[in-house]
């Protein structure tokens, strides 16, 4: 099924219609509002309106102790709590000059990769649901459940993990946890293959995603896209490879890229990323070092005066924290580089000239979470 956009030509006397998708709409993933100017079914322009979930998190950070900020980072992008923790504590550790023990670093890597899997699973579920395939939602969430159970066993929380501290990990892994993780890691490839059987070669799925929301590599870089939306356009760039942190320079993994920069390529990239995450997890399980999980840090975190920026490859793109310290126990300014926020602003470019149904597909493919966009 090729794109038959020409079938829906604009009529000579047609009037434009402005439709407000959201803030309460089943497919805008939260409280995103998109004002869409339509000519029939064709989108003339789309204008995202955000801020409905603004909680002033960056302002709140300024009133908190450093370790007290960690649970608040969970709530930025609530589907990628471990990555948020990791980026924040990484920034503070860099500012203080703390080196964390290798075991802590590897635990963090494991949590982050599990979180990437969980986040990509949510993305796949909702993206497929938006495009009308209902069943993958349930198949994928079943696997996500296992990840959340493992999280719960490690730190007691399933969604907002609060699993990392400045200087390392508060807890070592519980007894038998790695075995259960290994069972999961061994069974997930079959599940991923199952999901792909439902979608990858499905003609309707391809018809809905191939050629939809195309962005070229140069544009993707200029628009500041990171993560799968950037890689789908064929730019092989990943923070884990470019600016390695923790143990990412010691594990082997590939950075998958797409060719056309359309929704289908971004889909393939994310599916492959899941497999690469499993590969990293397997190496973590095999090569996990022993030793302490917490470095020697003072009870009250008091970084020196200065500023530092630290970023990690979150499931949705580069997730960075900029910490400015005035030498006190609270950050003077703490800024988040929210990957969803920056990826979302390209939405009008991607949907202009497409149909209403494509808007939903493109929102899904950008994989946004409003908690991080609005902060």
């Amino acid at each position: 099924m090729s794109t038959d956009l020409h079938l829906i030509q604009s009529m000579p006397d047609s009037e434009e219609m402005e439709v407000s998708f959201g803030p309460q709409h089943p497919a805008t993933h939260g409280v995103l509002r998109v004002m869409v100017r339509l000519d029939g079914e064709r989108i003339l322009d789309a204008r995202p309106i955000i801020g409905y979930l603004h909680r002033g998190t960056e302002k709140l950070f300024e009133t908190m102790y450093y370790n007290g900020c960690v649970p608040h980072t969970d709530r930025l992008d609530y589907t990628t709590a471990a990555a948020n923790n990791q980026a924040f504590v990484g920034a503070v550790e860099k500012l203080m000059g703390v080196t964390i023990p290798p075991r802590a670093a590897w635990i963090r890597m494991m949590l982050a990769e599990m979180q990437r899997l969980a986040s990509h699973i949510i993305w796949l579920a909702t993206h497929a649901l938006d495009i009308g395939a209902m069943s993958p939602f349930f198949y994928t969430f079943q696997e996500r459940e296992t990840i959340l159970d493992l999280f719960e066993e490690y730190c007691g929380a399933r969604l907002t993990l609060n699993a990392m501290r400045v200087g390392g990990q508060p807890l070592d892994l519980p007894e038998g946890w790695t075995d259960r993780l290994r069972v999961f890691v061994d069974q997930l490839p079959d599940r991923i293959a199952e999901w792909e059987r439902l979608l990858t070669d499905n003609r309707i799925w391809k018809g809905r995603t191939v050629g939809v929301g195309v962005i070229s590599a140069a544009d993707a870089v200029n628009w500041g896209l990171t993560g799968p939306p950037l890689r789908g356009s064929g730019v092989r760039w990943d923070v884990r490879k470019a600016l390695p942190y923790e143990g990412y320079d010691q594990v082997e993994f590939d950075v998958p890229i797409g060719q056309n920069g359309d929704t289908y390529d971004r889909y393939l990239v994310r599916m492959e990323e899941m497999r690469q995450s499993l590969r990293i997890l397997r190496q973590c399980l095999d090569r996990q070092p022993d030793g302490p999980v917490m470095a020697k840090v003072p009870k009250v975190i008091k970084p020196p005066k200065g500023e530092v920026y630290h970023s990690v490859e979150g499931p949705k793109g580069e997730l960075g924290f900029y910490v400015v310290s005035d030498g006190s126990t609270q950050p003077y300014r703490l800024h988040v580089r929210p990957s969803s926020f920056i990826n979302l602003q390209v939405l009008p470019e991607l949907v202009r000239g497409h149909l209403v149904a494509d808007l939903i597909a493109v929102i899904g493919t950008l994989d946004i979470v409003l908690g991080e966009i609005d902060r």
Binding site: I8, M134, G207
Partner: protein, 350 residues
Amino acid sequence: MTNPWVVYLLVPMVKIVVILGAITLAAAYLSYFERRLVGFLQIRLGPNRVGWQGVLQPIADALKLFSKEDIIPTRAEKLVYLSGPVLIIVPALVVFSVIPFGPPTNLFGLLPQAIPPYLTDINVSVLFVLGVSSFGIYGIILGGWASNNKFSLMGGLRSAAQLISYEVPMGFAIVAVLLMAGSLSLVSIVEAQRQAHVWYVFPGFVAFFIYFICGVAETNRNPFDLPEAEAELVAGFHTEYSGMKFAFYFLAEYANMVVVSSMATVLFFGGWLRPFPSWGWLGFLDVVPPVVWFLAKVAAFLYCYIWFRGTFPRVRFDQLMALGWKVFLPVSLANLMVIGTLIVLFGGGR
């Protein structure tokens, strides 16, 4: 049994009540089976709390919908808004007056003489079904327009475009059957299949394929459920309807599914005939009453509907139109010509 009061009033009245009740109940229970089946396909339970395995769920739903607040949007065009559900449910139920559920029967000797288990058999019942079921579009488009909601309006327009596009290839697919059967009466079509010793699905496989896909599209079911695509248009044309008015739309959709399945059964799968009606050694299958054969075939099609819903993503509007006009229409026309030629050459028809 020649009393005209009995023949012309009592019997039809009883039939009407039975058919209406059965169809309404069937549509309601279809929703239950859909939920259970989709639940099964999606490794979850589905409704299983009300009654044994949740069998009373449709009744509970109906009670809930009856007791819901009846909301009419302030800016809605009230008269049209209220007539929407009526306009959709009436055609969906009227169609069943000509669907032949089985051959005349005396109900295992309960009745003094055999009477047909369908309401009537008119000599243009195929056209009647097509015409009346298309009438339901008014309920959708007027309801969508009168709600004064942009999403509803778009849903209504999509639905109108979809129905018109798919009516054409569907009609041509049916014409292939008419050529073979030589009649527009559904009962005669079934009888013709008995005499031809073959279900029309075998010579008319292409026609059946087109008919069934168009049927799915016409009933706005996945993967062609664009008018009510919840991801795009919230709930499409019935976004603003609540309570029983919503239930009517809901019921009509399921009743239409039953219509399409019944028509597929009658036109292509020999209606109430057992499989391979010409093979004598399968005669033991005749212990199963014909009505059961009919219902079993209909149920198989309904299962396909639900199966589709559990499997496919949704197509896009332009793709839907392209499929209808650029694929199905030419193919159905070509199929018609092939079948027509074969009939002229070998004299299969009557």
